[in-house]
Structure formats: structure tokens, C-alpha cells
């Protein structure tokens, strides 16, 4: 395209598809950009259509610069900044919208189309679900249609034909794309860029008041999915550790400052090993969920002093990691003084009743295990109730809970037990994480959701190290054996805040099977498409084409392009063209004898003239031409071979001449 053609006006077909493509690009962004931008888009599109219908004129320089400054100002007000991914995306969309208004010639349209492709790519940073991925095929197809429309002469172009061509191009491009996707080496980020902020993320935090986990249990949001290499461990052993809470202020349990110091703990492998891989959804937090005691060789991740796995940066995009766990490992048989003090920390005052009761337990039961057993038997013997709606507790919350209301959620039990153990002189801490998960029989993997959030207790004794104990299991075994829904009393509705959630209809078999299949599909998408990075790629490529990556890639690309070329050019359909080629050959043969076909002279007439001039070969000439006309014009189905045979016969019969006789100038 020369510079002059870039200045030409935009063909109608292209403009139509561009308007549609813009709508398709922008609508899914509605949740991620300020609402005012959507309004701006509607206004600009309407304006552009009116310009196209010659109702209004193009905006002047003042209006354009006013709009530009106004939009940038608006984004600054809405996002508080003009840098960062959120504001950047809003600016990109704003440019995409405003450019439409300013678009006059093909060059502008090209800018708009390329901006559109870029907007789609930026959209993937905010949303990467399977549905979204499929949906974006629509704006991609329409943008490509707009690009094709730009090149059309505008005489006979029909919008639908243009779209069809665009879809065809994309379909043909898919095999090569898959090949590139499989083989293109995934590099580490070249530089760090602002990440999409997931403001509205729910999930575990680094501090916990008793009501927090009850709040989480209302959410059916996905936290992670895990696939096990071997058989699935029993459900009551699926304690997914996220972090430990060691600091108690009388009301909240929070992460201690010690836990932030990188210091790999001592532990010894014992017993069986469990291998699994986890696809973690964005949590906005740095810790990774593992079964005890986990071990992963993921880059940028390390084990902290409380056996949790922590990433350098928060998990802002879903990520995949492989873990090996030793559930029976012996953990930290020797505890440092600092750690010991932290594990015995209690507020200076408050909850006197528990302190006294615990001191009594310590006196009566020699040995740590005996104290723990006594506590657990207290929970089972007393009328404790497992509920999401516990009554309010007073200032001495643990006293009130243990000896008063006796109704609470896992956080109440874990907090109270840890307090009592510490008061009895046993180092202990609260572990926060998830328990259980739903097995998907289609894909044989576990799905863990926010309502699986759980808190349990870890206590330490010399030479034995840390041991886990779950007081909730003593009160409501169903919570651990089956899950939250089964553990709740009949009058408490599961997921009462989200009536549309398919999880509430698990008892309907068909709803459940659709839900499971859909979840399985999404998991596959996460694992094999979104998670196809770095190690995952190396594993897959290594397994399938170990050592032959480069030749397989090159060969695959050649085969794909070759097949496409065959399909596009269809050489086997060029029969009619070969007739023409043979006729050209025939013309050249006769030209050598000084006979040139005049412009506009038909084959028949030419043959007649040739036959008169070369009477010795009249038979061969007319044979060829008769066959040619029959095949080409009368639709007779003779083979090209027959025509070639006749030409060969003629060539042999003609006297041999070196060069063509110069044709006379007209």
C-alpha cells in the first residue's frame, strides 16, 4: 500500500466491521474500566455513525483536544494515577474510543485496528477464563474483517463475504498457531511490569478474628484445584496449609513477625510420599497451599520457618506448581528459644478462667499428649455446637466460648485450643488453610473453594516436634469427613447468600454432572493452556519429542504450510489451465513456422489459416484444435493427456526451426 492509498477514505464495509469490532472489544472491559468510559464510547460511536450518515461534521481540533484532556483527567480521578496497569488499560481503551471519532482515512483505520488487537491482549491480563478466550475470537474475527475491508476496492464487496474470508483466514491459521504455542520457548519476564490488581479478592488473610472464616464460608469461589499422581489420600488427611498464626492479642490471631524471617525449618522425611500438582487461582497473597510437609522446586518460592511455602511476589495470576509431601514427616524436634517463646505467647491478661482451667489440666495430666487428649475429650463431652452463626462473645472471648456459649466455627475451636495449650505450657499455634475439597470424578482432581477454609492447631513437644490436631473434628466430624454442607445443622442454609450457585443444587444429579464436566473443562484449560509456561512446557515437550524439538517444529511448520498451500491452490483442479497451457504451446509451435495468431482470432479460425499454410500438417493441426475446443468449450470430458498426445504428434510432424519468426508490428 502506497502512501497515497493510505490517505484514501475508509470503505463502508471496513467501517461497519470496525464499529462492531469496537463494541465487541470494549463490552467485556466494562467491569475493568471506569463506567464513564463506556458512556464515552456510546457517545463517540453514535457521533461516528452520524458523521458517516453526513448528519454532523468531524470534530474540530478544539473538541478533540478537549476530549483527550478530559478523558485523561477523568481516568486520573477515577484511578488516582495515570500509570499502573489499571490506568494504563483505561487509557488504552480511551485512545481506542477517541481514535474512532478522529478516523478519516485508511491510515487512521489501520491504527484503530492495531489498537484493537492490543486492547484484546491487555484484556487477557484481567480475565483469562475459557469463556473469555472463546469470546475474544469474535472481536479478533471482526477486526480482521475490518482490515480486509480496508484493502477491498469497495465496488462489489459485501460485508458478510468479508467476515467469512476473515474467519477462513483465522481457521487456516489455527494449526500453525498451535504449533507455535507448543514450541515457542517461554522466557522469564524481561522486566517487571505493573500487575493487574485484584481488589475484590476474598480469601485467607494474615490475621484472623473468629468471625473471618465464617465469612469466607459464604463464598463458593474457587481457590485451587489439585491433581494427585497416585491415589487420593483420605479426606480427613487433606489439610492444606497456607500459613500459621502465632500472635494473639486477646481478640485476633495474626502472623508473628518471626514468621517473616526466611529460615528454613528442620524436618525429616518419614513414611509415604504424596505427589500432586496444584493450580492456584489469584489470591493476592504470597503463600501457596501444600499438604504437610510439602516440597516444591518452583523458582521464586521458598519454605519459611513455619513450614509454609511463600512466593516472592503475591499470586496475581493463576499459577501451577508441583509438590511432593510427606504427611508423616518429623518436624523440628529442636525448637529455638525465640520460637518457643513465640509459641507460648499469651496476652498479659484476660480469659482468667481458661488460664486457671488449663493450669489444672497441666497439673492433672503429665505429658503433652495427655493434655491434648483431655482438651479434645472436653470438646466431645460438653454440648459443643458447630455453627456459622455463633452468638456474640464478650471481652473474655475464650472464657465465654469454652464455658458459656459453646457454639462456634473452626476458628473458635482452634483459637480456644491453642490458648488453652499455651496456658498449660505447651507450645502451640493456629494453622490457617483449607480442609478437604470436592473430588471431580471426570478429571480425578480436587476442587477447593473458599468455603473449605479451615483453621486447626499445631502443638510441639521435645523430640517429637510439631503435631497437628483438629478440635473441629472432635466436635463436628462431618466437617472433616464430608464437608461444610454436611456439617451444618439443618436450619443453617449452605451458601445462603448465593442462591444461583450450582453448588447448592448438588443433590440434583444432572445439574451436578454438568457442573462437574464444566469444572473439569475449566481445569483442563487452566492446566494445559494457561499453565503452559516454563516447566510445564519443558515437561510436555520433553515427554513427547525429547531431543527432537527443533526438527519436529520445522517439519510441522513445513507440513502445515504445504498442506495449506495445496488446499489453497488446488493444483489438481488446474485441468482447464493445462488445456490453456497446451494451447499456448501449440501457438508457439506454429509461431516458429511463421504463423502468429492475430489478436482476437479464434482457435478455429487460426487453425484453418494454419492448415492452409501448412497443408502437410493440416490433419494434425485440426485434430489438436478440435480436441481443444471440445474440452474447453463444449464441456467434453476428455483427458488433458489426450490433448497432450495430439500436440506431441503435431510437434513431431512439424519441421524443426530454431527461432520464432519476428511477428509483424500491427
Amino acid at each position: 500500500m502506497t502512501s497515497s492509498s493510505l490517505a484514501k477514505p475508509i470503505p463502508r464495509v471496513s467501517l461497519n466491521w470496525l464499529l462492531i469490532a469496537q463494541a465487541l472489544v470494549i463490552v467485556p472491559f466494562a467491569l475493568h474500566v471506569p463506567v464513564a468510559l463506556i458512556v464515552l464510547w456510546l457517545v463517540c460511536s453514535f457521533w461516528r455513525i452520524q458523521i458517516f450518515r453526513m448528519r454532523v461534521r468531524m470534530p474540530g481540533t478544539w473538541i478533540k483536544s478537549g476530549l483527550l484532556v478530559g478523558t485523561a483527567g477523568g481516568i486520573y480521578l477515577a484511578r488516582g494515577s495515570l500509570i499502573g496497569l489499571d490506568a494504563g488499560a483505561a487509557l488504552l481503551i480511551a485512545a481506542f474510543i477517541l481514535k474512532m471519532l478522529e478516523m478519516q482515512n485508511r491510515r487512521d483505520a489501520l491504527v484503530l485496528i492495531f489498537l484493537g488487537f492490543f486492547c484484546i491482549a491487555v484484556g487477557y491480563l484481567f480475565e483469562d477464563s475459557l469463556l473469555w478466550g472463546v469470546f475474544t475470537l469474535l472481536p479478533i474475527t471482526t477486526l480482521l474483517a475490518a482490515l480486509i475491508g480496508l484493502q477491498q476496492s469497495g465496488i462489489s464487496s459485501k460485508p458478510v463475504a468479508t467476515l467469512r474470508l476473515s474467519a477462513k483466514l483465522l481457521l487456516q491459521a489455527v494449526p500453525l498457531m498451535i504449533l507455535l504455542f507448543l514450541f515457542f520457548p517461554r522466557l522469564e519476564p524481561l522486566w517487571s511490569l505493573p500487575q493487574p490488581s485484584n481488589k475484590a479478592l476474598t480469601g485467607l488473610s494474615d490475621s484472623m478474628a473468629p468471625g473471618d472464616i465464617a465469612e469466607l464460608s459464604k463464598s463458593a469461589e474457587l481457590v485451587f484445584r489439585a491433581s494427585f499422581d497416585g491415589p487420593l489420600p483420605p479426606r480427613n488427611q487433606l489439610y492444606w496449609r497456607a500459613l500459621t498464626l502465632e500472635q494473639f492479642d486477646g481478640r485476633r490471631w495474626s502472623q508473628s513477625s518471626r514468621a517473616q524471617v526466611p529460615d528454613a525449618p528442620q524436618w525429616r522425611r518419614e513414611g509415604e510420599r504424596v505427589s500432586y500438582s496444584v493450580v492456584l487461582e489469584p489470591t493476592g497473597k504470597p503463600w501457596l497451599m501444600t499438604l504437610d510437609v510439602g516440597q516444591t522446586d518452583l523458582a521464586g518460592v521458598r519454605q519459611m520457618s513455619d513450614f509454609r511455602w511463600q512466593r516472592r511476589r503475591p499470586v496475581e495470576q493463576s499459577m501451577l506448581y508441583n509438590v511432593e509431601s510427606w504427611p508423616d514427616a518429623v518436624r523440628e524436634t529442636v525448637l529455638s528459644d525465640g520460637a518457643r517463646l513465640q509459641a507460648l505467647q499469651l496476652p498479659a491478661k484476660g480469659n482468667p478462667q481458661v488460664r486457671e482451667w488449663a493450669a489444672g489440666l497441666h497439673r492433672r495430666h503429665p505429658g503433652t499428649d495427655a493434655v491434648v487428649d483431655a482438651l479434645l475429650s472436653y470438646f466431645t463431652s460438653q454440648p459443643f455446637r458447630y455453627t456459622l452463626k455463633p452468638p456474640a462473645l464478650g471481652a473474655n472471648s475464650i472464657d465465654d466460648f469454652l464455658f458459656g456459649s459453646r457454639a462456634g466455627f473452626c476458628a473458635h475451636y482452634a483459637g480456644a485450643m491453642t490458648f488453652a495449650l499455651r496456658a498449660a505450657g505447651v507450645p502451640a499455634r493456629v494453622v490457617a488453610g483449607y480442609q478437604g475439597g470436592e473430588l471431580n470424578p471426570d478429571g480425578h482432581y480436587l476442587t477447593v473453594r473458599q468455603f473449605d477454609a479451615h483453621a486447626w492447631v499445631e502443638y510441639w513437644q521435645p523430640n517429637v516436634g510439631w503435631r497437628s490436631v483438629d478440635p473441629t473434628a472432635a466436635v463436628a466430624p462431618a466437617r472433616v469427613e464430608q464437608g461444610l454442607e454436611q456439617a451444618l445443622a439443618a436450619d443453617e442454609e449452605f451458601l445462603s447468600d448465593s442462591p444461583m450457585s450450582a453448588l447448592r443444587y448438588r443433590h440434583l444429579a444432572w445439574v451436578n454432572s454438568i457442573r462437574m464436566s464444566w469444572d473439569n473443562l475449566n481445569y483442563g484449560w487452566q492446566r494445559w493452556v494457561l499453565g503452559y509456561q516454563g516447566q510445564q512446557q519443558l515437561q510436555v515437550l520433553g515427554r513427547w519429542f525429547s531431543g527432537f524439538q527443533a526438527p519436529v517444529f520445522a517439519g510441522g511448520a513445513a507440513v502445515i504450510l504445504g498442506l495449506l498451500a495445496l488446499w489453497l491452490f488446488k493444483p489438481w483442479r488446474r485441468e482447464s489451465d493445462s488445456q490453456l497451457r497446451l494451447f499456448n504451446h501449440f501457438e508457439r509451435l506454429l509461431a516458429r513456422q511463421g504463423l502468429k495468431r492475430q489478436p482476437g482470432e479464434g482457435a478455429q479460425a487460426f487453425a484453418q489459416r494454419a492448415a492452409e499454410q501448412l497443408p502437410a500438417h493440416a490433419g494434425a493441426i485440426s485434430d489438436f484444435v478440435r480436441e481443444f475446443e471440445a474440452q474447453r468449450y463444449a464441456g467434453a470430458d476428455g483427458s488433458v493427456g489426450a490433448l497432450r498426445q495430439r500436440l506431441k504428434f503435431l510437434r513431431r510432424s512439424l519441421p524443426w526451426r530454431l527461432s520464432a519468426v519476428r511477428g509483424k508490428r500491427p
Binding site: 480482521l144 500453525l176 499456448n584
Partner: protein, 318 residues
């Protein structure tokens, strides 16, 4: 620099794409290279790749690879769009120097359709047309006629950037189109042969003297007289319908003579050309005399064409 390589380029083209009246565009004749838009496309792909790498986003990788594949496929599609197109030159009518030559081109499709085919003599000014599947399209291109004699049309540029505009497939074709360009007619006095008329009879009194316009006087109008020669001024003065009479009407043949004119050759040919046209329009028989050529006294279109041809080719025939 470019000018220096032009002859070599033309020679190479002549070998690669020999002149022919009818040409099918095939792999020997088609060149294909990315356009500037293609460069922008590559830049966008690079930016998309950077986004994909830095955010480690598989979908962005997917989009990048999809667009890269589409870009690679565009080579095949752009090539396919122009290949198989059959071009042939139609007959072109002769014109006079200074007038535009209308060259007819026939574009033929034997298989699939060809969209947005641009034709022209240089890569800046091109005309676009579509050729539907198995159809024939005629396109007219103009070319200024600068010099009399045989004019050979320059190589024709056929190109297309369809479908994506990121690759351009083109060819330079010589369809052996030649047009005869006549000299530019320039009005002036009639250059008549001095001395012996080629076919004058002995008793004929040849009109003599240069600059004589052959105007003999007026006579009364008779039915059958040409309206052109009416003397309207006389009629308006009330003198009745009069007709201007010319001496040549008396049956004496005219001979337009090259040597009767001064000035350089082109000027003389232009004057002769004017009178050939003028006399032919008056349907008056005349003869043309050029150095080395004398035509018979005649009138009519064939005679006119023959004379114009002589004027056009005077001194340029190989």
C-alpha cells in the same frame, strides 16, 4: 543511483518476464514483499510478544501466535489473489501527439476471483478493479502521447495487497501494446506543391502561388451544396443564399508537399497533418508528397489513415 540500475533492471525483467500479448501471472512472474503496513504489523506482533513474555500470559501468547500465523498465511493469500490472472492487451486507437492514448486491457479469471487488482504504469498511480471468478473485465488505462511514431506501452504494473495489506504481490508485464502516434495537427496555410502537380493534366490550370486559399468567390446556392460552405454573412445581408466556391472544386487535384513548408521537420509534419485532416473532412481528394514518398490522389478514410501513417512514421521507420 536508482537511475543507474534501471537499464540493468529492465534487461533482467525482459529476460525474466518476456513480452507476450497474453500473460498468465504465475510464480515466474509474481514478486512478493511486505509493505510498510506489514512492517507496522510486525511491530505490533513484537509488542504483543513483549506483553506475553512479561506477563507470562498464555492467552496473549496465543493471540500473538494467531496473528503471526495469519501474517504468514497472508503471503499465500496475497500470492493466490494475483496468481492465475490472465492479462492481455486490447487494440488501441491511434491518437495525435498531446492527446491521451486509451489502452484497453483485458483481465481474465479462469479459476477463483481476484480482488482489488491495481493496474498502472508506475507504482504511484494505479487503478483498482475486481475480477470475479471465471469472468472477464476490461480496463482502460491512459498514457500521454509525447512523440509521433510507434509508441510502445511501458511495462504494466499489476499489483495487489489483498487481503490484509501487509504483503504486496506485483508483476511488471510487457503486453506488447503498440500504438501509432500521429503528429500534432497545426493550422496554417495550405502547403501546396509548387510546380507540377502529380496528376495534373496538361490543360489543367494549376492553382499557383503560395498562400492562395483557393477561394474563388461566391455563387448561388444549389440543392446538394454542403451547408458548411454557406456564406451566412451574405444571407444575413439579404443577398440570398450564397455558397463559397473554392477553386479545387473545379476538379483540379491538390498535392500537399513537404518541401513547400519551412521550419523544422516536426513543424512541417504538423502542418501537413492538419491539412490531411482538413481536406479529408471536406472530402476533397488530395495527394501527399514527402521526401521518398508520393501518394496517389485520393480521398476517404483509408487514404487519410495511410497519409497519417506516413506522416507519423516519417524518418522514424527502422
Amino acid at each position: 543511483m536508482i537511475e543507474r540500475f534501471k537499464p540493468a533492471w529492465q534487461r533482467w525483467l525482459g529476460r525474466r518476464i518476456p513480452p507476450a500479448t497474453r500473460v498468465e501471472l504465475d510464480h515466474r512472474r509474481i514478486f512478493i514483499l511486505p509493505t510498510r503496513v506489514g512492517g507496522t504489523y510486525a511491530l505490533i506482533l513484537f509488542l504483543l510478544l513483549l506483553v506475553s513474555i512479561n506477563y507470562q500470559n498464555s492467552l496473549a501468547y496465543g493471540l500473538t501466535f494467531l496473528m503471526l500465523s495469519v501474517g504468514v498465511l497472508a503471503i499465500l493469500h496475497t500470492y493466490r489473489n494475483i496468481s492465475g490472472l490472465i492479462l492481455s492487451g486490447g487494440h488501441a486507437r491511434s491518437v495525435f501527439v498531446g492527446e491521451p492514448v486509451q489502452l484497453r486491457l483485458r483481465l481474465e479469471s479462469t479459476g477463483h476471483g481476484h480482488q482489488a487488482i491495481a493496474l498502472g504504469w508506475d507504482s504511484e498511480q494505479l487503478e483498482q478493479t475486481d475480477v470475479e471468478a471465471e469472468r472477464l473485465v476490461e480496463v482502460g488505462l491512459t498514457l500521454p502521447a509525447l512523440k509521433r511514431g510507434w509508441m510502445r506501452a511501458p511495462r504494466l504494473r499489476v499489483e495487489s495487497v489483498f487481503p490484509l495489506g501487509i504483503f504486496r504481490a506485483w508483476s511488471w508485464l510487457d503486453l506488447e501494446q503498440t500504438v501509432l502516434i500521429y503528429p500534432k495537427p497545426v493550422a496554417g496555410t495550405m502547403p501546396l506543391l509548387q510546380g507540377v502537380q502529380p496528376h495534373a493534366e496538361d490543360d489543367g490550370h494549376a492553382t499557383t502561388g503560395p498562400g492562395v486559399d483557393d477561394y474563388q468567390g461566391l455563387r448561388l446556392w444549389q440543392p446538394g451544396d454542403s451547408m458548411r460552405r454557406m456564406h451566412w454573412k451574405a444571407w444575413s445581408r439579404g443577398q440570398g443564399l450564397m455558397v463559397k466556391e473554392f477553386s479545387d472544386l473545379s476538379g483540379h487535384d491538390l498535392c500537399l508537399d513537404f518541401m513547400a513548408l519551412g521550419g523544422d521537420i516536426e513543424e512541417r509534419l504538423s502542418r501537413l497533418c492538419y491539412w490531411v485532416l482538413e481536406l479529408s473532412q471536406r472530402q476533397q481528394p488530395f495527394a501527399l508528397r514527402l521526401p521518398g514518398f508520393v501518394s496517389a490522389v485520393d480521398s476517404g478514410d483509408t487514404h487519410r489513415e495511410a497519409c497519417l501513417r506516413q506522416l507519423a512514421l516519417y524518418g522514424v521507420r527502422a
